[in-house]
Each structure stands twice: as structure tokens, then as C-alpha cells.
Amino acid sequence: MAGNHTAISKVSPTRALLSHIAIWVAVIIAVFPISRIVTISLRPGNRLLSSDLSIIPADASFENYVRVFSEKPFLQWIYNSLVITVTTSLIGVILASTAAYAFSRFKFPGRKSGLLFLMMTQMIPAAMLVLPIYLILTQLNLLNTYAGMVVAYSVTTLPFSIWVLKGYFDSVPRSLEESARIDGCSEFGAFYRILLPLSTPSLAIVFLFNFTQAWNEYIIASTVIQNPGLRTWPLGLYELQGNYSSEWGMFAAGSVIISIPVVLLFLYSSKYMVSGLTVGGSKG
């Protein structure tokens, strides 16, 4: 681990043992609820409601996995989610990086109030914006469209992305862009050819952040989307768990399938994500 050289060096055996025990308790608390989802997904349909606590049930079967694909439009939900998520994330990264460039590299009237405004938007809960957005979309006849959904998403994620990217751009030395400008590069060229390639990791983080936000969003989607053909996976899974007793197993199976790639992606990127959050939040 990268941080080991700064860790406190000598750990006495008793202390080590106690630490291991304490961590193990935390590990069990963290993992057990998740392992239960796997357990339930493996239970055959006639045994869904059971107080059995074994991790892999004795009569394990993949019945629920087959059923969620065959009886429910599960692939359709995933496809819809993917389409909307990729689009919003790409739009988010493009708009956020240009704005962050302006805020990081230029001094102009309204800069500080602009940054303050962007930060202020973070204080407003999405629940507060849902009602007016819902009513406006009703009036404009835009309910059941992704356009309305994306509007609601980007209001909350764009400002945050701008802050995070601005934090990264601030840490990239300006001399490179300046020399490119002297060599005859345009302002946009300096941004597009010099700064953006240097900030690929941070762009990836912002993309991931936007991606997870849109991928997991339920509240806004549930008010705006009613057309079954446009449902995203959170709406679908919520429905399955809605009539709990009967569809519990399919819910669990669907959850496992959706979680695996997301969790892997997250574990891979979480370290960078945190540094992004703290850079954006503390250094401004």
C-alpha cells in the first residue's frame, strides 16, 4: 500500500490482535447485508420468505437469474439506463471542463459570484427542484422524455463537476499553455491540445462521478418517467421489490447483476474520487 511508509511503525502483538478483531467486526457488518442479497438471489422461488441465515442456501439455484431476464424487460432497463447515463456524463464533462477552464485560468467580472452561485446550488436538495421541474415539464408536455430528466440531473451534477475540475486545473502549471500560446496556439487550442490531455485522469473521475449519479438516480426518474419503454433499472428494480413477497428473488438477482460492474469500477476509482472531492471542496 502506498501509504505504508507513513504509518505508525511498530505495532505490539496485542495491539495488532485487537485491531484485527475490531476490523473483522466492521468487515462482517459491512459485508453481511450485501452477502444476503446474493443469498436471496440464489433461493428457489418457493423458499423466498424464510428466516434461514445460511449464506449459500442448501437448495441454491439460478432460477431467479433466468426469470429476471425472461419475465422482465431487464435488458431494456439496463440499455435505457446506459443510454441516458453515457449521454449525460459526456455532456457533463464537456460543459464542465470548458467552464472550469474559464474559472481556473481567467480573471473576469462575475467570476467570484459565479463560483459562489455554483457552490450554492449544491445546498439545494434535488427534492426541492423536483416539484417545479415536474410541473413545468407537465405544462410543456415534456413528461416522459429524457430531456426533462437530464435537465434535473445536470442542475445538480454540473456545478459539482465544475468545482472538481477547477481544482485540478489550478494544480496544472500554466507555463505549458503560455508557451503554446507563444508558439501561435489559439486559446481554445491551448485548452484542447494542452490542458485537457494533461487532465485526463481528472476528466475520467468527473465522468465517473456523473456516471454513478445518473446511473443510480431514482427519485427524479420516478416522477418524470411513466412510459414502461423508457424505464431505467432503478425504476424496474423498485417495482420488483414493491410487491415484496413475490418478486424478492428477482430483485436480488437483478441487483447482483447490476452491482458487480458498478462495484468493481468504484473500487478501482474510489481513491481518485476522494482526492477529487477533497481537492474540489477544500482548496477551491
Binding site: 476490523i23 441465515l53 470548458t98 457552490m119 436538495p125 410541473l135 445536470s154 431514482y218
Partner: protein
């Protein structure tokens, strides 16, 4: 099978609207730069604002909020270009305008509209009329009065919920911080498997929240959920014969089988448990990265001087961790205060107020379960004022003024 068309059509429509919007904003910047020196510029933009307002009101019978908002926009823009920019700062304007103007419009307009609703009567009965004619009756401050009134059958009193929201924020933040910091300190030692432990402990944060919360909710089922069953197992494993009866350790401590779904206090407790479980990993990772940034030599020097571990923690760790932890704590506070997801998903299937709602989740239910649109708008304005006070704290602490360009 999968129908690829509807979602793609939606995306095309979205891209079309978006490029229209961006093109409009960029063209507006361009035109303003071209004409700001013209003596007719200001009068023209003001006339344009009035004309927009007039057309919206007479031909589209738009709400006053739209009329004022879109009518004032050209006037404000022209003043900004004429007196603040004066033809300078071209490139940052082009770079920033699409995102900032977009967010500003998409954010301020709903807020203005919410304010408008708060002073009018809009509910299911008047909704049809409003969509057809754009007109609703003026209500004055009566919606606000209702918000602050004593509770009814479908609505708890505002003060109860506010109190619960602060309790909720306090409880969650306390456990997130102490457990997160504690785990980080444990993981910041030279132990075997530390990397694996850390990866596993992040899992509650990594798993999609909707899935985690819905799964937890199922497990709080009074008969089939594991929560009650584990309580039973612990009780029977560690029961101690005492006199005539048996003492069961958890029951003795006051922790018993609960009807988690129906008892309001138990429901609130269960939501807290779920949210603590979800939020600890974030604080753990943030504190861990702060701890790892502290040079080991500080501790070595301190122990040479005979400082105890507790003294080292208080005088080295805490002060050095503070600059990272304070922004993270405030961020966590705002997230917890605004956490509609967890509370809503844990309580939604049992309809409206069940004695476990916090402000934002109650707001959401009032709007979409009971369709009290205007009431919810007034409610939202009140919550907004509370949040504004919290925001003031945020700005004071996060020192937004420390900025590389000054």
C-alpha cells in the same frame, strides 16, 4: 426483447435541444460583444426585455414568474456587458457561458416558479385549469401559515419534523465521523491484509444506494428479516440462567425484536442504522487519506519526548487532520440533511408521514403522494431558508476566498 429505438430518439431530442441552447447562448455572447458600444444598445435590450415580457403574457398567457424572469434577463445582460465587461474578457465568457448560463436558468427558473406557486393555490383540482389557461388564484401567505400549523392526520407538525431532521443529521454525522475516523486509525497501522480490509470496508459505499437501501428494508421485516432473527440468536447463545428465569443480554440492554416497519421510533432507528452503514466508508476513506499525509517523524519525535498515544492523537493527529475533515464534515452534513433517497425509500411503501420522515422526504411526499403543490412549494421555501443558514456556515468554514487567482 430490447427495443433500441425509444431511448435513442430521446437522446436525439435531448442533443437537439441542448445544441440549440448552447448555440443560442454563444450567439448571444457574440452579439453582445459586437454591439455593446452602440448607443442604441441599452435602449434596444430594455425594449427587447419589455417586448418578450409582453408577448409571453398576452400570447402565451405565461405565469408572472416566467414573464419577469425572461423579461429582466436581457436588461441584466446588457448592463453586465456595458458596465462590467466593457468589451474585455472575451475568452472566459465563451468558455463559461454555456454551462453557467444553462445552470443558472435551469436552477433559478424552477426556484422562481416555486416561489410563485407558494403564493398561489395549485393542487389536483386547479391543475387542469392551470395547464389550460395558466391562471391560478392568489393565496397570499396562507400556504406558509399552513406549513407552520399544527399537524393533521396526513401531516406531522413542521416543528416535530424539523427537530427530527436535526436529530437525524446529528446522529448520522456523529457515527459517520467517529466510526469512520476510528476505522481509518486502525487501518493506518502496519498490519497484514490492510489493503484487503480497506477494499472490503468500502463496499457499502460502492454498491448502488437504491439496491442497498431496498435490501436493508427487506431485512427489517419483522419475521423474515435477519435483523430480528440475529437478535434472537444472540440472545439465545448468550443467555444466562439467573434465579428462576433467564437473562438475555440484548433484551436486558433494551434491544428487542421490533416491528421495524410499523413502529415509528423503530422505523426511524432502522433508517439511521442504514444511513450510518452507508456513510461510514466515505468518512473512513477521507480520514485515511488525511492520516496518511502526516509524516511519521512527527510521531517519532513525540514518543522520544515521552508523549503518550492519547497526547499524540490530540496534539498531532487531530490538528493535522482538521483541514481535510472540516470540509468533508460540512459536505456530509449537507448531504445528510438533504438525504431524501434513504428516508424516502425506507418509508415510501407505507404512504405519508409515519413519524420517521425528515424535512426533504416529507416535502417529497406532500408534493407527490398528496399532490399539495402549492403547500409543498411554500414548504420548500421554508426549508430553503433553513438551508441558507447552513450554507452561511459552509462559506465561513470552507474559506472560499483562498483562491490562486486574486
Amino acid at each position: 426483447m430490447v427495443d433500441f429505438v425509444p431511448a435513442l430518439l430521446e437522446v436525439l431530442r435531448l442533443l437537439f435541444l441542448l445544441s440549440l441552447g448552447v448555440a443560442f447562448i454563444l450567439a448571444a455572447v457574440q452579439l453582445n460583444y459586437a454591439y455593446w458600444k452602440n448607443p442604441a444598445y441599452l435602449p434596444f435590450m430594455f425594449a427587447l426585455g419589455l417586448a418578450i415580457g409582453f408577448v409571453l403574457k398576452s400570447h402565451f398567457s405565461a405565469d408572472w414568474s416566467v414573464v419577469v424572469f425572461l423579461g429582466v434577463a436581457p436588461m441584466a445582460v446588457s448592463l453586465f456587458f456595458k458596465y462590467a465587461l466593457k468589451g474585455r474578457h472575451k475568452s472566459p465568457m465563451y468558455f463559461a457561458a454555456p454551462a453557467v448560463v444553462g445552470v443558472f436558468l435551469l436552477f433559478m427558473y424552477p426556484l422562481m416558479f416555486e416561489l410563485y406557486l407558494a403564493f398561489h393555490w395549485l393542487n389536483l383540482e386547479t391543475l387542469g385549469q392551470w395547464i389550460r389557461t395558466g391562471e391560478i388564484e392568489f393565496a397570499g401567505l396562507r400556504n406558509f401559515a399552513t406549513v407552520l400549523q399544527a399537524g393533521t392526520e396526513t401531516r406531522e407538525s413542521f416543528w416535530t419534523i424539523t427537530g427530527r431532521t436535526f436529530l437525524w443529521t446529528g446522529i448520522n454525522l456523529f457515527f459517520h465521523l467517529t466510526l469512520g475516523m476510528g476505522l481509518a486509525i486502525l487501518l493506518n497501522q502496519k498490519l497484514r491484509f490492510v489493503g484487503i480490509y480497506r477494499t472490503i470496508l468500502i463496499l457499502p459505499w460502492a454498491i448502488p444506494q437504491l439496491i442497498a437501501v431496498l435490501a436493508w428494508r427487506g431485512e427489517f421485516h419483522s419475521t423474515y428479516g435477519y435483523v430480528n432473527n440475529i437478535l434472537d440468536i444472540v440472545n439465545s447463545l448468550f443467555s444466562i440462567p439467573w434465579g428462576d428465569g433467564v437473562i438475555q443480554p440484548l433484551t436486558w440492554l433494551g434491544i428487542e425484536r421490533q416491528a421495524w416497519w410499523s413502529d415509528p421510533t423503530a422505523l426511524f432507528a432502522s433508517i439511521c442504522i442504514v444511513n450510518i452503514w452507508l456513510g461510514v466508508p466515505f468518512m473512513m476513506i477521507v480520514s485515511l487519506s488525511a492520516l496518511q499525509a502526516i509524516p511519521r517523524s512527527y510521531y517519532e519525535a513525540a514518543s522520544l519526548d515521552g508523549a503518550s498515544r492519547w497526547t499524540q492523537f490530540r496534539n498531532i493527529t487531530l490538528p493535522l487532520v482538521k483541514p481535510v475533515m472540516i470540509p468533508a464534515t460540512i459536505l456530509g452534513m449537507i448531504w445528510t440533511f438533504n438525504n431524501v433517497n434513504v428516508v424516502y425509500l425506507m418509508t415510501a411503501q407505507r404512504g405519508g408521514s409515519q413519524g420517521a420522515d425528515i424535512l426533504v422526504s416529507d416535502l417529497y411526499k406532500q408534493a407527490f403522494f398528496y399532490n399539495r403543490y402549492s403547500f409543498s412549494a411554500a414548504y420548500a421555501v421554508v426549508i430553503f431558508l433553513i438551508l441558507l443558514a447552513l450554507t452561511a456556515v459552509w462559506f465561513r468554514v470552507s474559506k472560499i476566498a483562498d483562491d490562486p487567482i486574486k
